[in-house]
Symmetry: C2
Subunit: 164 residues, 2 copies
């Protein structure tokens, strides 16, 4: 069983199960390729505008095998969007087929840390994430150089020592 | 110092600081009343459509004194919306003044528990909430009878014993 996660700039979502995660899902026998399946899922979750963008093989970043809760491989894609593209996705997401069902809302990830040392990325990382999506987020921020390496390290450390 | 939180049906938001909370904010000297200040904040955070709805004294639910991080009183308002009203707020939220600044995205709260006993409300409650907004959420679900009392109790218990 294969499934995907996409990391679209700094966009994640609140899922139907109360956890944070990336848009994506399971590949289907009718999908001709990983990318086809991913684009189908993104269309369902982000709305029809995403059809004009599409993820390609060039957006592939990494894969991870897992045993639990079922055997599978997670494929991680990341696509850099222009600000206007991201804003259009946000604007049209309410008309997506899965809005209010699988997707409880799209959110932006704060890529900064506030002066108290917790607010921002550290506090965000202490939320409840599905599967390996937190490590995919950190991997994405690192490899796409969206956040400086020492800032990522500090944020991970702070998120584990956070005052709730 | 006074500030407010509104509990609009099952709507919360991801905040700029990486935590979940309700729309709302601090009252201001220019606000003629608590409700005026709250409606001003909701306009900034939810967008111009909210101007046609407005919170009134009838929507007041409770107050709570706090000492930390500064002395203050939190006033909690809850307004029941029609589904179409909630959907219009979601649709227009991207055009709110604070979208992408204070508000990283509006989300719906899952008011159910999935068959695994964790997914849904319990997993949602194990996210990172600002201030007393988690207890306000539970108070709101309880007093507005949106969720059955035994379901709330189970969800709180499960959220404290959750498998991440």
């Amino acid at each position: 069983m294969l499934f995907f996660r996409i990391f679209s700039l700094s966009q994640m979502m609140m899922r139907f199960d109360g956890r944070l995660g990336f848009p994506g899902g399971f590949v289907d026998p009718r999908d001709a390729s990983l990318e086809d399946g991913l684009n189908r899922e993104l269309l369902e979750e982000l709305g029809p505008y995403f059809n004009t963008l599409k993820v390609t093989e060039q957006d592939y970043k990494s894969s991870q095998a897992r045993e639990m809760p079922q055997k599978g491989v997670t494929h991680f894609f990341a696509k850099e969007l222009k600000v206007e593209e991201m804003e259009t996705i946000e604007k049209e997401a309410f008309s997506a087929k899965d809005h209010g069902l699988e997707v409880m809302g799209l959110i932006r990830v704060p890529l900064y840390t506030l002066r108290d040392g917790f607010g921002g990325l550290p506090a965000f990382l202490s939320n409840n994430f599905i599967g390996n999506s937190k490590s995919q987020l950190i991997f994405g921020l690192r490899t796409l150089r969206l956040v400086r390496e020492e800032h990522i390290q500090d944020a991970i450390w702070s998120s584990q020592n956070i005052q709730f």
